[in-house]
């Protein structure tokens, strides 16, 4: 665990592209998200077993390798799906904008918010309320001791890595109707993920949740109120947090 994984943006993009392919055959977004999630999870598993596992706790090595792998994924996608942006259709039932309290919201975006909350809640319950979650946390806490009480730490971590990859892959498909699949999607997404994690704190689910909230709100309102600061606004909360609380809002380790 504690892997510095910079392929996350690429896994997101890979998921989006796989979703494109699935939907050409079976035009159902949710099915595509499921399929892409599984496929990307398998890919993540290979990545973890064949490459990251070999690097042990070598953080710098992991950063460089995952960065390299992300380039490889990006170009493989370019070769496979070409350089043009490919739209992912919005599910027909969610195509209409809805009006709430005088404001217009695209229905699909609301659906995405709901999905995000459900996934976050499910993750929280998994981690905090199940024996499996406790085993994962024990493994993060003291991997040697965890294995000495019979927890198959390495298999568990591979599974967690796959789960992370699966969420990234499925996320790519679910984000598809808003973002589309296009070369560079990875580079657009990765910074957001990193900012959220640094802001919320490494190793904290609650931190990631709060970090994502802050990032989303600051960005949206910041861009609206101070359009000239569009570039910085995203990084401002992160810089403040790093300056005053280097381990992030809820972090357990220094970022």
């Amino acid at each position: 665990m504690r892997i510095a994984n910079l392929t996350h943006g690429s896994l997101f993009m890979l998921g989006a592209y796989l979703g494109v392919t699935v939907m050409r055959q079976w035009p159902n977004l949710w099915l595509a998200a499921l399929a892409a999630g599984i496929a990307v999870a398998l890919f993540g598993g290979l990545l973890e077993r064949l490459i990251l596992r070999q690097l042990g706790g070598n953080v710098l090595g992991q950063v460089l390798v995952t960065l390299g792998v992300s380039f490889i994924i990006a170009d493989a996608c370019l070769i496979t799906w070409g350089g043009d942006p490919i739209p992912i259709p919005t599910p027909p039932a969610l195509q209409m904008p809805v009006r709430i309290a005088g404001f217009i919201f695209p229905a699909y975006r609301l659906a995405v918010v709901v999905i995000a909350v459900v996934v976050a809640l499910a993750l929280y319950l998994l981690m905090e309320r199940t024996r499996l979650g406790a085993m994962i946390r024990a493994g993060v806490d003291d991997p040697d001791m965890a294995s000495a009480v019979g927890i198959p730490v390495s298999r568990l971590f591979s599974t967690v890595f796959c789960l992370g990859a699966a969420l990234a892959g499925a996320g790519g498909v679910i984000g598809g109707p808003i973002m589309s699949a296009y070369p560079g999607l990875d580079a657009d997404m990765l910074p957001l993920a990193l900012i959220v994690v640094i802001l919320g704190g490494v190793g904290s689910l609650l931190g990631a949740f709060v970090g994502a909230f802050i990032t989303g709100f600051v960005y949206t309102f910041g861009v609206a109120l101070l359009p000239d600061l569009a570039y910085v606004i995203l990084f401002l909360p992160m810089i403040l947090v790093i300056a005053f609380r280097p381990r992030g809002l809820f972090g357990k380790f220094a970022a």
Binding site: R131, A134, A138, D142, D144, A146, S147, G150, P152
Partner: protein, 235 residues
């Protein structure tokens, strides 16, 4: 001697290039308590780490009821029935007391359950929902013992269970060990507190600079003052 619960034969272990165990051989009889004694650095904790799999032996065999377990991964060794109460306790600080216990649960036809551990250590039950990191040293030691018991081990390794504890608590730990022994638990005990060790142990193995210096029933060692002075430097 009864059946051998745990037997080490010719075990060599190295940290990097430094040789810390040289052909260590001894056996723990089923249902007995074997105290592993020696000065600091004699290789006692290394023995424990070798048995649980943290430090796979370079040479030699480790058998659990006749089954070879040397060089297996710690989680595999644990599931074969060896549990460790480690030096320094190493409870999972950010898990609650209850979580510390349930993550270690293995049925293996044993009788230890969450309820039995709570019955053994009522203090843990009171603090079941607290983070383990917030417990006192004695409570953490109880938790470490309880966690090991949750695995229903066939052999229990206890590394310095009395270390750093108040005398009252030491006595309680001693009583617990005696009780476990009474239930037929095979225990390999590393203990600096020689008096406590002699009280609890059936057999004694003395290590000196990574080699077995002496071994035998506790009675034979307890009264051999020359031996004790030479290898343990106490009394």
């Amino acid at each position: 001697m009864a059946t051998e619960a745990l037997a080490l034969d010719g075990v060599d272990a190295l940290y990097g290039e430094s040789h810390v165990l040289h052909g260590v051989s001894f056996a723990l009889g089923e249902g007995r308590v074997l105290a592993l004694l020696g000065r600091n650095g004699a290789g006692k904790t290394t023995c424990m780490n070798t048995v649980i799999g943290f430090l796979p032996p370079r040479k030699g065999t480790v058998e659990l009821f006749g089954e070879q377990v040397a060089r297996l991964a710690p989680d595999v060794i644990s599931r074969k029935g060896i549990a460790l109460v480690p030096q320094g306790r190493r409870v999972f600080a950010r898990l609650t007391v209850r979580e510390n216990l349930i993550v270690a649960y293995q049925k293996r036809g044993g009788t230890w359950t969450l309820d039995r551990v709570f019955a053994l250590f009522p203090r843990l039950k009171e603090r079941a929902e607290q983070d383990a990191g917030s417990l006192s040293g004695g409570e953490q030691q109880m938790l470490a013992i309880g966690r090991a018991l949750m695995g229903n081990p066939r052999v229990l390794l206890m590394d310095e269970p009395s270390e750093g504890l108040a005398p009252l608590i030491v006595a309680e730990v001693g009583r617990t060990i005696a009780r476990l022994k009474g239930e037929g638990q095979s225990i390999l005990l590393v203990e600096q507190n020689i008096k406590l060790a002699f009280e609890l142990a059936d057999d004694v193995v003395i290590l000196n600079t990574g080699r077995v210096a002496s071994s035998g029933p506790v009675a034979a060692v307890r009264d051999n003052e020359a031996l004790i002075t030479q290898h343990l430097g106490v009394f």
